[in-house]
């Protein structure tokens, strides 16, 4: 019984982390269709913003929930303004430019901060379930993920700003014709996605630590999750995160963590062979 509970928690945590690293990309790529290969580095910058400001004596929660999203949001604003907007939707050029940006950020972080791992001990301590010990922070990660996804969903579904964003994504010209400032809406959406990535990087930092190259471990998983999710970004990403989180964690349980990573990638490749337009390309089309 205890074992089942612990295993269940681990599975939930795996799903939540995957959803968390993907949610910013779900906004930027899933909705805006901007391919941001520097997504992993956005998470990395968020992690550093949190770890460094917490290390400088700032309140832990202020650093995690405010400073990290704000810093990465600003970075996103600059990137959108200086790079993404200049390329005007040229897919290949955007892939390459953001990849260059990703290398640049890795190099910058390494030059300024060095190639060693930094971290903050997970707050809250641990809890005993039968003979198993589990960090309370695990519950926090699951809770934050659920909150972020619900809030994003509600905002998109019921707020006027969310309506404008959805309208711009669905038909930019029509939205512009109706008087929406689509350039600003796109920019703001990109900043929102960046800020969410910053938050994710900060929330995961106490567990994973931060180092300049950590983005590489996130970016492919995030892309695979969002792509496999398909056309309706938020629902699709959540579903795909659930599927892949389960698969990889289950594989990691029966074998080793590395097998879990590989299982995720293999399942994703096979899934795209069966459903080339992603999960929501066929099911749940009416969702968000």
């Amino acid at each position: 019984m205890d074992l089942a509970l612990v295993v269940g928690l681990h599975l939930l945590h795996a799903i939540a982390s995957l959803a968390l690293i993907s949610v910013g990309l779900a906004v930027i790529f899933g909705m805006l269709r901007v391919i941001n290969f520097a997504h992993g580095e956005f998470l990395m910058v968020g992690g550093y913003a949190f770890v460094l400001s917490a290390g400088a004596g700032v309140n832990l929660w202020l650093a995690m929930l405010v400073i990290a999203p704000a810093v990465v949001g600003m970075l996103g604003y600059l990137v959108e303004r200086l790079v993404i907007r200049q390329l005007r939707g040229d897919v290949i050029a955007t892939i390459l430019a953001t990849w260059g940006l990703s290398l640049f950020l890795v190099g910058l972080a390494a030059t300024v901060l060095g190639y060693h791992q930094q971290g903050v001990a997970p707050p809250f301590g641990t809890i005993q379930i039968g003979s198993y010990t589990i960090g309370i922070y695990t519950f926090f990660v699951i809770g934050v993920t659920i909150l972020v996804i619900l809030a994003l969903f509600a905002w998109l579904r019921w707020s006027r700003a969310g309506l404008l964003v959805r309208g711009t994504m669905q038909d930019g010209e029509l939205a512009a014709g109706l008087g929406a400032d689509t350039v600003r809406i796109r920019s703001a959406t990109f900043v929102l996605g960046s800020a969410l990535s910053g938050l994710a990087g900060a929330v995961l930092a106490p567990l994973a630590g931060v180092l300049p190259e950590i983005g590489a471990t996130y970016v492919v998983k995030a892309f695979i999750t969002v792509i496999s999710g398909g056309a309706t970004a938020l629902t699709g990403t959540t579903l795909a995160a659930a599927l892949f989180g389960l698969t990889s964690q289950a594989a990691a349980f029966v074998s080793r963590p590395v097998v879990g990573e590989v299982a995720l990638l293999v399942v994703a490749i096979a899934l795209l062979r069966v459903l080339p337009t992603g999960i929501t390309g066929r099911y749940f089309r009416k969702a968000l």
């Binding site: 391919i35 897919v91 260059g100 492919v220 892309f223 792509i227 795209l272």
Partner: protein, 334 residues
């Protein structure tokens, strides 16, 4: 014949090839040839991407997977067999097979550029994780220990076919690599001039139209991808033999990025550009690494962004435009 009509390019390539094969070995020290060999190996790898991406229109982030697989296949096979002829063949065939398998997943359903990019990237990462986790004596293929992130050391050199006691030393490996580069370059140019090559370019230009004209797009894309995978594998074989060493770093993101930079710097849609871009970028990187002025990622990344923003067409197409402007009008240099 299109490729014979373009005399300037062919002449240039011929002269460059002759210099590489005949003049350089006589005029330089062995150490210089050793360094140059690496550049030429990377140039072969760059050609594989120039072919797959520039002419086939397939942006593959997986060339490093084929390169690495070629290197590992060769290393494992040559350690087990003690003779290099069959391992070289395997080092080309195994990556080509993987490309075929992958291509079946990629081209039989209409998967967009982005999906393709991510899936090929995922394949590289799978290898990176799997081989990285193979440390320990239980992970061995025959006599070859895979060695995890430490890689496989002391890979035996390439030998004269059928005579393991006659290995190719540095100068010989240089000449072999230069010849392979020339053959790959010439072979690709020939392929582009055939009907097959023309259809491939037609598919790149407009896939739907090519399909409506009755060409089997999937088969041709698959063939392009398999050929590209084989060439990358061959470069990997030479790489493992060159350094007598191979590690999972050949599957890393940085290495994959480098291949794309080479092709972009030289100019997409050209073969000579890939070679020139590769040698130029590698020379700069080597110099940066030795001078320790800045982090290579920093420089590579910044160069990449600026290149995409301001010089998207690359060196060789830019030079061609310049040449076309200098020449009297009325003649198309292509």
């Amino acid at each position: 014949m299109n490729w014979l009509r373009d005399r300037t390019g062919l002449l240039g390539a011929g002269v460059a090839g002759a210099v590489l094969i005949a003049v350089v070995p006589a005029a330089t020290e062995v150490y210089v040839q050793f360094e140059l060999t690496l550049f030429l190996i990377f140039a072969i790898l760059a050609l594989s991407l120039a072919w797959v991406w520039g002419f086939g229109g397939i942006l593959s982030f997986g060339q490093s997977a084929f390169f690495g697989l070629g290197a590992y296949t060769f290393a494992v096979a040559v350690i087990n067999l003690g003779e290099s002829t069959l391992p070289i063949l395997l080092g080309v065939l195994v990556p080509a097979l993987l490309a075929g398998l992958l291509g079946y997943f990629l081209f039989w359903r209409r998967i967009s550029d982005v999906y393709l990019a991510v899936i090929t990237l995922a394949v590289s990462l799978i290898f990176y994780y799997l081989i990285g986790a193979s440390a320990g004596s239980q992970y061995r293929i025959g006599a070859a220990l895979l060695g995890g992130y430490n890689g496989i050391p002391s890979v035996p050199p390439i030998n004269v076919p059928g005579a393991p006691e006659q290995p190719l030393v540095y100068g010989d490996l240089y000449i072999l690599t230069a010849i392979v580069l020339a053959i790959v370059y010439g072979g690709l140019r020939w392929l582009l001039a055939t009907d097959f090559g023309r259809v491939v370019v037609a598919i790149r230009e407009n896939e739907e139209r090519a399909q409506l004209l009755g060409y089997d797009v999937r088969m041709r894309k698959l063939a392009v991808f398999v050929i590209g995978g084989g060439i990358a594998g061959l470069a990997g074989v030479l790489f493992a033999a060159w350094g007598a060493y191979v590690s999972p770093n050949v599957f890393s993101m940085t290495f994959t990025a480098q291949i794309i930079v080479w092709v972009l710097v030289g100019g997409l849609g050209t073969l000579s550009g890939a070679v020139i871009g590769c040698v130029l970028v590698q020379a700069v990187m080597t110099w940066l690494g030795e001078a320790k002025l800045a982090d290579t990622n920093l420089v590579l990344g910044a160069g990449f962004v600026l290149l995409v923003l301001f010089a998207r067409r690359g060196l060789v197409p830019g030079l061609r435009d310049l040449l076309a402007r200098i020449r009297p009008p009325g003649r198309d240099p292509r």
